[in-house]
Subunit: 173 residues, 2 copies
DNA sequence: CTGTAGTTTCAGTAAATACTGAAATTACAG
DNA sequence: CTGTAATTTCAGTATTTACTGAAACTACAG
């Protein structure tokens, strides 16, 4: 016989493990994604010590990871009166989580890549020989596509979920 | 004075380096992304030896990386008659490249994640206490969102670029 | 102020990941 | 078939990346 709390604990562990594995999807370490998962799965604010014990990681690691999550905006820190400790709470609205992750990936990876692609296109603009022409065309197309995709994502992320998902489902459903 | 071929070479190197850095965006090694870039930037089919020299990597690495790119469908191998060597050519249509990468990420990472989220939701279905209810709601919402996003992407990737991008621009422009 | 709980930092270390290179295998030309 | 060029494989190694833990620092209570 499995009790309810045991079932919950198992499901929670499974979730933390899987969410951790998804770290590579948005370019963060396994530990950071697991930390995010642990906070998502918590009903109460969580302290650095709670986290260290739950995930079996060092204080330094827990502290750095939490700071990073706060910086991203996925987590905010809360204070309990009469307690010196800092506690942490995760943003739980799925659409917000998605927007934050998309924004960070864009800022950290897509924008710099786009700048370089444009630079490559500019440097080979007007060159005469066949190879140069082919290369120029390719990087220009890549830059245009990335730029367009980027814009679409940015505009979508600025809206409310209710005005985005239904429209997309209508378009592609 | 910089000659045209020199300018091209510089731009090409810049491109290879940057495309390599983007490997993490779709979950492949830097070398695999660089290899892809080198093939994209080539007007002629490229051999394993060409690649080893261009990127300064070992034969084993070049071979494995090329095989993987072929498996993904981003590269195909071509044979030159009267030559025993195998040569490689990259798919250059940007929309196709995008679709292939999206498909692989979906298959390798999103689908398994979705299965686990659903399992977590199922295991906590009907549990009574507050924590379990909150957790069940969260993972259900995450699973639904991921599933919807997945479907939209899949349907979009099955279409022609000309029927997707303009529609999205109209929707979000 | 002073003592203490809490937090941050970062040099050193551990773990994960990617790469090498040479031996084994395959595939082709003669 | 036979010899040779090309490719594949993978155990060992290098490199990169993430983590630890203890010392330094900070901020609060008394």
């Amino acid at each position: 016989m499995t009790t309810e709390p045991e079932k919950l604990q198992e499901a929670r562990d499974l979730f933390i493990e899987q969410w951790g594995a998804m770290g590579s999807l948005w370019g963060v370490t396994r530990t950071m994604a697991q930390t995010h998962a642990a906070l998502l799965a918590a009903e109460e604010p969580v302290s650095t010590d709670d986290l260290m014990h739950e995930l079996g990681i060092s204080r330094g690691n827990a502290n750095q990871t939490l700071r990073q999550l706060v910086e991203w905006g996925l987590v905010r820190s809360v204070r309990v009166r009469g307690d010196r400790k800092e506690y942490f709470v995760a943003e739980k609205k799925v659409w917000k989580i998605f927007c934050i992750i998309a924004r960070e990936r864009k800022r950290r990876e897509i924008d710099p890549a786009l700048a370089v692609l444009r630079e490559c296109a500019a440097r080979t603009n007007g060159l005469r020989n066949r190879n140069a022409k082919g290369f120029h065309k390719l990087v220009s197309q890549l830059a245009d596509f990335l730029s367009t995709a980027n814009n679409i994502l940015e505009r979508a992320a600025a809206r409310e979920e209710s005005t985005v998902i239904p429209a997309l489902l209508k378009l592609f459903g």
